[in-house]
């Protein structure tokens, strides 16, 4: 038997924080590829500490639904899962965006744990960002004449969070699909507040590289960009700001295509996903 565990941050304050984790887990459950699929959280239950014991499978694939490699994915999660002999070098990610997976034992269960790199630094995350731009504009060909801003938190505790943003920015820029692609941040230069200064295109799609919608994506960023005076009154999509049209998408992590990233992480770590048709778990699943 094989299990997939999606580990997310969760929240003591915000009931919506765990929803993306639940909805991607449900998408993967529907594929029937795993005997068990379970969610686990840092701030909710089951905790990282206790999730493994709730599973019957001997082979467990753990994929962090986190944006970057760093404090949570390299220290907190492996420690709380009790992964024996974990060392970040096992991921062979010298640059903070190339984590793959490591196979370990957990000290409280008799199981093999395949600990995967976070969803956020997987190559296919670039596709999710583009899909987000398509869904917010309602145009599956969006790109020509459009700028794309990918927004991150900034340095804070973890310098790798900026690396993940830069990584996908570079990849999407190289694809040539959008006229301009920029990485912007909430608390460091270049700042999202000045979004219109960085683009010459009239239309700018703004995609925050966050897992769940919450305070930052629903309140700070819309207000900082001038989409609205007061987040409680909402904002238009697109919204006019300084002669530009801003298409603000909300957190990328709620995009249903995220389920594919999680599945790819597990498949690369050796999970048997043969039951999957076309490798596209989220096909036909509506965005929400």
């Amino acid at each position: 038997m094989q299990a997939l565990v999606i580990v997310g941050h969760g929240s003591h304050l915000n009931p919506g924080s765990s929803r993306p984790t639940f909805s991607h887990a449900d998408t993967i459950r529907e594929t029937g590829v795993f005997d068990e699929v379970r969610e686990a959280f840092w701030k909710e239950e089951p905790s990282f500490r206790e999730v493994l014991r709730t599973l019957e499978s001997d082979e467990v694939y753990v994929v962090p639904l986190f944006i970057s490699e760093g404090y949570f994915t390299e220290q907190v999660i492996p420690r709380e899962l009790r992964l024996e002999g974990w060392d970040v070098s096992a991921w062979e990610s010298g640059d903070g965006v190339s984590a793959d997976h490591a196979t370990l034992k957990a000290s409280d269960v008799e199981k093999t744990i395949h600990y995967c790199g976070p969803a956020g630094t997987h190559d296919s995350m670039s596709d999710v960002i583009v899909r987000r731009a398509e869904s917010v504009t309602g145009d599956s060909e969006v790109g020509d004449g459009f700028g794309l801003a990918i927004v991150g938190h900034g340095t804070e505790r973890n310098e790798n969070s900026a690396k993940a943003i830069e990584y996908h920015t570079d990849r999407i820029r190289e694809s040539g699909r959008f006229d301009e692609v920029r990485a912007l941040f909430m608390d460091e230069e270049p700042e999202v507040d000045d979004v219109t200064d960085f683009f010459s295109t009239t239309d700018i799609v703004v995609v925050p590289l966050f897992i769940a919608d919450g305070f930052h994506t629903q309140e700070d960023i819309p207000e900082d960009m001038g989409l609205t005076e007061d987040y409680r009154r909402g904002y238009d999509v697109p919204a006019e700001v300084d002669g530009h049209r801003i298409w603000y998408s909300g957190a990328v992590g709620t995009e249903s295509l995220m389920a594919d990233v999680l599945l790819e992480r597990a498949a690369e770590a050796g999970a048997d996903v043969r039951g999957l048709s076309d490798g596209d778990a989220s096909r036909g699943v509506a965005d929400d």
């Binding site: 929240s11 003591h12 449900d26 239950e45 999730v51 014991r53 420690r79 505790r157």
Partner: protein, 353 residues
């Protein structure tokens, strides 16, 4: 009992069957079958006839060993629900009208279905007599169902005694029952099972604190007195239905009652650690003396207000009940009289500034 169950029993006889008082053995064409008070040596036809007369023993054996699979936490939990230490006949009698157990604020009921298959119902203990409940069948729905309490507030701690009412799962099989319980009270069945097996891995506070990093590193600074107060704040039955099995460390028990819950708490949870971090920062402040002018009733009123908030009773205090210190009009009047500029008795918090 149905024909496949009986065939399975006959086929299993050569390896020997010993289950809940039913014993079957075979030696070439000779069968020996036994239930409490009856014993028979016979051929296959005789075994089949005996089984037909005692169908409960067969369907019971089949349900537990084939449908459920006789080991692990799920098995133990489902057996506990029907109090499976009892003789099969007595159990089937009880199951025919239904048996119930309480698990936190959940009420789990079992009845006997077709061919000995158990059917389970799950709901809130307070809804046992309720007629108009929303019915569910998908275990996954439980995650959203219990996210908010009956007042619409988010429940960050799954085992807080604020489980919402008004819903039921009227008909689950054993596997879905345990999955649903696991979504409502995650990992409780597994930890309860480990405890019964004498294998619960308790992590005491000092060890859990040692492990913390980042902003939670400071929780190890909590003194034992603060730890007692923190456990009394978060872990007693009125706040959390888990039974606290962790203490300060292996040698040092806390005086706070552990609680009477069915399932154990094996280490300080994330909510406790977050609260503990706040308590450490509160504990860093120096005491100082203030002088307040209050009437004796006003002093008592402040105590009543703290009590009402701490017990979550403010909602119960009636609008016009002016005899209650924590009544809103009384609190507003106290503020109007004794908190000019928002400070109690006009006394500055930091007089030196």
């Amino acid at each position: 009992m149905n024909a496949p169950q009986l065939d399975a029993l006959v086929a299993s006889a050569s390896q020997g069957v010993e289950f809940d008082g039913l014993s079957v053995a075979a030696d070439s064409e000779e069968y020996r079958v036994e239930i409490p008070g009856e014993r028979l040596e016979t051929d296959e036809a005789g075994l089949r006839a005996f089984a037909e007369e005692n169908p409960w023993y067969v369907s019971n054996w089949y349900y537990w060993t084939r449908t459920v699979g006789s080991e692990g936490a799920r098995y133990a939990f489902l057996r506990w629900i029907e109090d499976a230490g009892r003789p099969v006949g007595e159990r089937y009698e009880a199951l025919s009208t239904g048996v119930s157990r309480t698990w936190g604020q959940l009420r789990v009921s079992a009845t006997i279905g077709e061919d000995g298959k158990r059917r389970y119902a799950l709901g809130h203990v307070d809804d046992a007599e309720s007629a108009s409940l929303d019915t569910y069948s998908d275990p996954l729905a439980a995650r959203e169902l219990v996210k908010l309490d009956d007042r619409g507030r988010y429940r960050p701690l799954s085992t807080a005694p604020t489980l919402p009412t008004g819903w039921e799962y009227p008909n689950l099989d054993g596997e879905d029952l345990v999955r649903t319980v696991d979504f409502i009270y995650p990992a409780t069945v597994e930890n309860w099972h480990r405890e019964r097996e004498g294998e619960l891995d308790v992590t005491h506070f000092r060890e859990a604190a040692e492990r913390q990093s980042g902003i939670y590193e400071i929780v190890s600074q909590l003194s034992v007195e603060e730890l007692e107060a923190a456990a009394e704040t978060c872990c007693v039955d009125s706040q959390c239905l888990k039974r606290r099995q962790w203490d300060e460390d292996e040698e040092t028990d806390l005086d706070v009652p552990r609680g009477d819950g069915e399932f154990p708490c094996r280490e300080p949870c994330s909510l406790f650690v977050t609260a503990a971090r706040k308590f450490v920062t509160l504990g860093r402040e120096e005491m100082r003396s203030y002088e307040f002018e209050l009437t004796p009733t006003e002093k008592e009123q402040i105590e009543e207000i703290i009590d009402a908030v701490a017990e979550g009773r403010t909602d119960e205090i009636r609008e016009a009940d002016l005899n209650e210190g924590a009544n809103r009009y009384r609190a507003r009047y106290l503020r109007a009289r004794r908190m000019p500029d928002g400070e109690l008795s006009g006394t500055s918090t930091y007089p030196e500034d």
